[in-house]
């Protein structure tokens, strides 16, 4: 198992001298032909953000774990995600109305704290909390790192029985973060919905109506 170390071989000094020169010259030459050949190949750079064939987020696979996003219209506030998160970067608060309905006080995800491990999205049974393919979220103050998903007071907690279809991933974040996704390429074509599920008509108009408020 443990081999003996062979003694170093001492070569003929004259042959070694000229051998060194020969090897130095030939290996330098070989290396330079390789580097030269790269001058004739096209670079593999993707020219983010503006000179790409399509936005980089669309090149990413569906499985990519980007920024977290919750579709509150599907969230039953079961708190599974918040419990699963090893860090506690999801904070959910609800309050109960006298008429029995529960409404969201806060649903914050601290992007600064999040480690994008995907455990919370895995825990979510209703496909409400999910990773998007978004990644552009640099901000200039630490407070802005927290994304507050409850955009207005009185947003009701969804019932597990009748859930609306999931809104396209990324569309909620885009509505929430000012200047989000501003690194668009030049003359971006109208973006197709990212998920195969058809976007509900209600999803298109601003802060949309969750079911059951009427």
């Amino acid at each position: 198992m443990v081999p003996a170390v062979p003694p170093p071989v001492r070569p003929n000094p004259v042959r070694a001298y000229f051998g060194n020169i020969r090897r130095a010259v030939s290996s330098t030459f070989e290396g330079m032909t390789v580097t030269m050949s790269w001058l004739f190949r096209r670079p593999s750079t993707i020219q983010y953000p503006d000179r790409t064939e399509k936005p980089v987020r669309e090149m990413l696979p569906e499985t990519y774990r980007g920024l977290l996003e919750v579709d509150l219209s599907r969230c039953t506030a079961c708190l599974l995600c918040a419990k699963t998160c090893p860090l506690g970067c999801i904070s959910i608060e609800t309050c109960k109305h006298p008429d029995g309905a529960r409404e969201f006080q806060t649903f914050d995800i601290d992007n600064g704290l999040c480690m994008f491990c995907g455990l919370c999205a895995e825990a979510c049974n209703f496909d409400a909390l999910a990773h998007t393919r978004e990644f552009e979220a640099s901000v200039s103050s630490a407070e802005q790192l927290t994304v507050r998903f409850v955009d207005r007071p009185g947003r009701l907690v969804a019932k597990a029985k009748d859930l609306p279809p999931r809104r396209p991933r990324g569309s909620i974040l885009a509505a929430l973060i000012p200047g989000f996704g501003r690194r668009r390429r030049r003359a971006a074509p109208p973006e197709p919905p990212a998920s195969p599920a058809p976007a509900p008509a209600a999803g298109a108009e601003g802060p949309e109506n969750p079911e059951g408020t009427a």
């Binding site: 330079m32 004739f40 190949r41 670079p43 750079t45």
Partner: protein
């Protein structure tokens, strides 16, 4: 008579209507002309050193399968300007514990050493700031001035890493002076003069008139000189004074802003200078194939200017090609260790360059210039040069043919990553 005297005399005759030989203010006019020439040279250095940095970054980019600066101006050509302006306006820090005078003066000394070399570079038949009769000696001497600056920077920074860089560069430059001097001695032996213009004049426009293809010893001497010059210019594989992974940034580690810019400036310009020296000493300089310098001198007016411009272009193209080679070497090779650096110099380059001097001497005695043997020798050497070019072209082609076949195979398949492609 060099161009400065020529212009000064012209000025004195036409503007002051005096005889330059007896007029008492001749020296003043000459001084003014020299000043203007120095400014022009400075502008040239600036305008050249900057784009060299851009060229280097683009070439490095392509070699590394990326793009390099392409956002500032068309294809990023103004990148060097942005870097320059930014560095200029950055805070100029002097470490509290630094040796202030040395620290402040070092970049300028390095710059002076580099800039002084431009005085004797023959850009064209009539375009040389001063055609010294000891041109080569002057070149060797003035480029050594750089080492004083680097040592000052290393010592004055009061940083151990900088000190390492400074000492390394001192040892390196002093050592590599020897093989480069010996290699240039071969040129001097053939040309019979130390004057830079004389050396160019001793060659011709056609490749078989160049010193590099004169005989096998000159062929080897060119590569020896080129290696030594790379070492003197602190370029990879000899970039030990600023070896990033060993001594962080070497002698310039404590420099910021404008002073650091001067170091960079000197580095880029140095590449060009050593390429230019190789070009005029071995590759025929500004000589135009088929036209003798006397014929150009005999022309007048625009024709003269045209020939001049052509000769400058030829010189610049040769030098720029060598700059490209230096850059390619830099992005190919790893770095030597300090002891290997010294071994390379003293055990390989010095004896070999001495051998080349001996060989050139022997051939000078045995093979008379212009004889049949000389012609055969030159033809054989040009053939050798062509063979080197051909072999490397074939190797390059083979290298990326493998890739092209692969790419053809991949073509049409839905790849979500962009494989690099042939253009």
């Amino acid at each position: 008579m060099n161009i400065i005297q020529h212009v000064a005399n012209l000025l004195i005759r036409s503007v002051f209507h005096a005889d330059p030989a007896s007029w008492p203010w001749t020296w003043l006019v000459q001084a003014v002309v020299i000043g203007i020439a120095a400014f022009l040279a400075f502008a040239f250095v600036a305008i050249f050193a900057g784009p060299v940095s851009w060229i280097e970054r683009r070439i490095a980019g392509r070699i590394q399968s990326r793009i390099g600066p392409n956002r500032v101006g068309p294809q990023g050509v103004l990148q060097w300007l942005a870097d320059g302006v930014k560095c200029w306006l950055k805070e100029d820090l002097v470490p509290a514990a630094a040796d202030r005078p040395l620290f402040l003066a070092a970049p300028y000394l390095v710059f002076t050493g580099m800039f002084g070399a431009f005085v004797v570079l023959p850009f064209g038949a009539q375009v040389v700031a001063a055609d010294l009769n000891v041109g080569i000696l002057y070149l060797l001497a003035i480029t050594s001035l750089v080492v004083v600056g680097l040592l000052m920077a290393g010592w004055g920074s009061n940083s151990k890493w900088a000190l390492f860089g400074g000492v390394r560069s001192a040892a390196q430059l002093v050592s590599y002076e020897v093989p480069s001097a010996f290699s240039l001695l071969c040129v001097v032996l053939l040309a019979g003069t130390l004057s830079t213009q004389g050396i160019v004049a001793a060659q011709g426009g056609w490749p078989w008139d160049w010193f590099i293809f004169r005989n096998p010893f000159m062929f080897a001497a060119f590569f020896l000189y080129f290696t030594a010059a790379i070492a003197e210019g602190n370029r990879t594989p000899f970039d030990l004074p600023e070896a990033e992974s060993e001594i962080v940034a070497g002698y310039n580690i404590e420099y910021s802003g404008m002073r650091f810019l001067f170091f960079l400036f000197a580095e880029w310009a140095n590449i060009w200078i050593m390429a230019a020296i190789s070009a005029f000493a071995f590759l025929g300089g500004w000589q135009i194939p088929g036209i003798a310098p006397e014929q150009i001198a005999a022309t007048k007016g625009w024709e003269f200017v045209g020939w001049q411009a052509l000769s400058w272009t030829i010189f610049l193209v040769k030098a720029t090609f060598l700059v490209f080679v230096v850059i390619q070497i830099r992005w190919t090779l790893p770095r030597l260790r300090v002891d290997q650096l010294m071994i390379t110099c003293w055990k390989y380059l010095v004896p070999l360059s001495m051998l080349m001097v001996l060989g050139v001497l022997v051939l000078l005695a045995l093979v008379p210039e212009g004889g049949g043997a000389d012609t055969i020798l030159r033809g054989a050497m040009v053939g050798l040069g062509l063979a080197v070019v051909l072999v490397s072209a074939l190797r390059v082609r083979r290298t990326f043919r493998v890739d092209r076949e692969h790419y053809r195979e991949m073509e049409g398949r839905d790849l979500w990553y962009p494989p690099y492609r042939l253009p």
